[in-house]
Symmetry: C2
């Protein structure tokens, strides 16, 4: 059995080893054909593993002396932190030691480093940040870009559509023609700004299963499998949704603690409320994929806990198992040839 190996930036995120080590150990229990390379301060990693009474089975430690700060400028990290846990973790992919890298560190630095080390797939100009978001009937929609590119032209948006479509097809073999929607201010063909109108035409000419313009609520209505959007708008949508879900949760909490009767109702409704909370738990959807690179790089939320970090590792594991990079490469080449004809 060949092990699927993920390089972990063990020092990244708001809580570093306190989150990455327990998350990594849970992950290894769940996936018996996975191995991890823990990258960072060797002494500290060893001590964290000992504290957790972890066996060293399927674990390798790879030393890295530096850590990229959460607020560090991406260019500075790229230039001055060549031995950072983040950089060394990504290097593991390039050197063939790992098939994926996961980090909870600085998003900008991770993107800059991943692009620099791994390069983009032929035909893709810039990678996008992609994330599965949950909607009606347990459907998930892959939304991209979520903030890597604040200005996008139609060529880039088309590339996101192709890469996203291939990623979904790779991960769900029963869905070989994922429905692609283009985020717009209305569903009519003539809507939108110049870049979006151009993208609409490119998508119509492509071989993708393009279903047309959709509005922001399409994430939840299960009408598309891939939602293409520029990084500025995508980021605003993601943060708005996170804020809205959190706010609704607060209202639920406020209402169920408003009076002694409501508190009593809450006790009786506790299993239901817990299940409700679990279904919308952002940790279950943790792990954004940097799509378009020649390697699987997954960004975990910086403030997540061990459970959330484990989900990010699962996201990387699924991408390796689905051989998504090879499929995106083939898909991009095929789509671009079709468009040129």
């Amino acid at each position: 059995m060949t092990l699927k190996t993920i390089a972990v930036d063990a020092m990244g995120g708001d809580f570093g080893l306190d989150v990455t080590i327990p998350g990594a150990l849970t992950f290894l229990q769940q996936q018996t054909d996975a191995a991890l390379i823990l990258v960072g301060d060797e002494t500290k990693i060893r001590s964290a593993l000992t504290k957790a009474s972890a066996s060293m089975e399927r674990i390798t430690i790879c030393p890295a002396s530096e850590v990229v700060g959460m607020d560090e400028e991406p260019t500075s990290a790229l230039k001055n932190k060549k031995n950072s846990s983040m950089r060394v973790a990504i290097n593991q992919i390039k050197e063939g030691q790992a098939q994926a890298a996961v980090s909870a560190g600085n998003t900008g630095a991770l993107m800059a480093t991943a692009r620099f080390v791994l390069k983009t797939i032929a035909g893709i100009d810039r990678p996008a940040i992609a994330k599965f978001l949950p909607g009606r009937n347990n459907h998930v929609t892959l939304v991209l870009d979520l903030g890597a590119n604040v200005d996008c032209n139609s060529t880039q948006l088309l590339q996101f559509a192709i890469a996203g479509s291939q990623q979904v097809a790779a991960l769900s073999p029963e869905n070989i023609r994922p429905r692609v929607g283009l985020l717009n201010v209305g569903t009519e063909d003539i809507k939108g700004n110049a870049a979006v109108k151009e993208t609409h035409q490119l998508l119509q000419r492509s071989n993708l299963n393009f279903v047309g313009n959709v509005e922001g609520n399409a994430i939840f209505t299960a009408e598309v499998d891939v939602l293409v959007v520029d990084g500025f708008t995508g980021n605003a949508m993601l943060k708005s949704i996170e804020g809205a879900v959190k706010f609704v949760g607060t209202v639920v909490k406020e209402e169920f603690t408003r009076s002694w009767f409501n508190k009593l109702a809450a006790i009786i409704a506790l299993p239901t409320l817990k299940n409700f909370k679990r279904r919308l738990d952002p940790r279950r959807f943790n792990g954004a994929i940097f799509l378009g690179l020649r390697g699987v790089v997954v960004k975990s939320h910086g403030g997540t806990d061990a459970t959330g970090f484990c989900f990010a590792l699962q996201e990387a594991y699924k991408a390796i198992k689905a051989d998504s990079i090879t499929k995106i490469q083939a898909g991009v080449a095929q789509q671009l040839t079709a468009l040129e004809e």
Copy 2:
């Protein structure tokens, strides 16, 4: 007592008179110093009023023979429907018969007609669609633009900030320096695309209470009173939020009907769940203001019911009462002078 008069496009929206008439009658009961001009098919309006056993006190009927279709092109409506209920309702403001107009009709046509008939305030190039959205601690944030302008330059975004700030100050006299936030992909000053970076600098130089860049979740965190965003992104955010809140509601419903025990819990928790639902009821936040025009024009959601339509009328009423147009005019002039110095 001078009556505050609102012209109502009685024929607009998905349900026309079935919604506008009961909504109008409820509104008149709630606001005893308000009067309504019901614009549309006189026979049908009279018949709807008779059916509702309405007194004609504070009600005038203004005949209009045409109706703008919900999918009609704005330019076509503007050119060919000069006697539409929408157009005639807006004319009432220009002719001094009403101080505001409310319509649940076609958004694009309403905006085009309102701009054509009323013109924009001096110093404002294009009006924006603005809406109060609810957040933590019963705070509301005025978000603009929500879709009138899919491409915005920094001058327009600055104008939105000024108009939005004046609107909030007019409506809440205790808040004379509303906090203005600029929607961005991060809070650092250097983030964003070119238009947003320029806007950031203009806002810093302005006399507004500019608190800097904020992310999409700022709508819910009560950190700003006015959130400035281009119409493309603003529309995507609004639709995403509406979709997310609806989705969370579906999950609550699904969980509380999953088993007989959960259904029992739901019965006990019913008052709590009802209050939860009421607090997030989109009808309570119905009514988008077209900000920057020389008159109060409010757009009701096309698919709302009488309760929702009544809230849209309240929004117009509050704007008249606060004399918001005069205040925006003065504010724009003052801010623009300050920026030129």
